[in-house]
Symmetry: C2
Subunit: 186 residues, 2 copies
Amino acid sequence: MSLPHAILTALLEKPSSGLELTRRFDKSIRYFWSATHQQIYRELGRLEQAGLIRELPQQLPSQGQRKEYEVLPAGRAELAAWVARPEDPKPLRDALLLRLRAAALVGPQGLAAELHRHRALHQQALDEYLTIERRDFTADRTTEADRLQHLVLRAGISLETNWIAWLDEAATELGPPEPFTADPHR
Amino acid sequence: MSLPHAILTALLEKPSSGLELTRRFDKSIRYFWSATHQQIYRELGRLEQAGLIRELPQQLPSQGQRKEYEVLPAGRAELAAWVARPEDPKPLRDALLLRLRAAALVGPQGLAAELHRHRALHQQALDEYLTIERRDFTADRTTEADRLQHLVLRAGISLETNWIAWLDEAATELGPPEPFTADPHR
DNA sequence: GCCTCCATGTAACACGTTACATGATTCG
DNA sequence: CGAATCATGTAACGTGTTACATGGAGGC
């Protein structure tokens, strides 16, 4: 039940068409909530039917088929209510941890390489976050909105940092990407 | 594509019936991969049809309807292959971060209480993990399987620790659960 | 005219969730 | 007998994913 609220948030920042929303998701919101254009179109239809958003009358006539949406007061109210609504965090769900547990039974052949690959991906994500932080959050002109957005970014930074540290630990535990090991069954 | 492998892992540890698997998921695997009994039954059927597991002939006759399954060699092979198969980590997907971003637009009323509640839940999870660690991973009798399982547990511990630290930071940023604030819009 | 990109959408499926159904065993 | 519990399963739905369809606009 979060996608509609993600869309409301994005539309509040700036009224947009479906494809524009998709691009903005790709650029920023996807860092903590990704969505494909099909999901977005489906949800835009529902939100419109629910009376939370409405289609803007085209200011530029005959501009293809673009449909711009804006948030209605009911939509803003729903979003504000959702911000405070109790909703438990989703339990952890991580395939790599599952694979480690499986490796404890069938042997860790090939796992070290995967850990190494994941480390690189997390490092890449971290670098991206740090770049954004340097670009957008240096000054001390801190409105409340700025501070909240920075907080979100710092969550991403510390999560990725945490994964990297753990993956390093895991790599030490497993040893280097084993070329050959004795006892392939275990 | 991880649930079948979670089930194969659990069945390798010990052949079980559907309900037994559900309970064992609830007890241990759910810490990083939860599943309901319906998912498990559906998947057991598929795994059997795929020839990765098979129904054990009942040793105790007339024991109700219980169906015990065991992993076949093809199942073990599939699991071993999966351990090394490249599979990218799922991007972060966290509703609380989304809510913070929404709060930057519609105001953080009520958010502080949610953060506090989440902190308590993460603290609870952390305590649980630490208890398990003290109980199961004290001795220095470290087989490779032990070390891998401990590694998985440490991932959970450091993730929860990380969330708690971040939530504390967030609480500081937001201030105490605001009783009243000026300017309710913005 | 043709290709590409823009923009919206349909269809089908995989996975996960919730509610309910069915029958067998156990216990008071 | 009746209720609770065990054990397996069906049905329906919501969300997310993938592939494909349609039709207009702009460039060569």
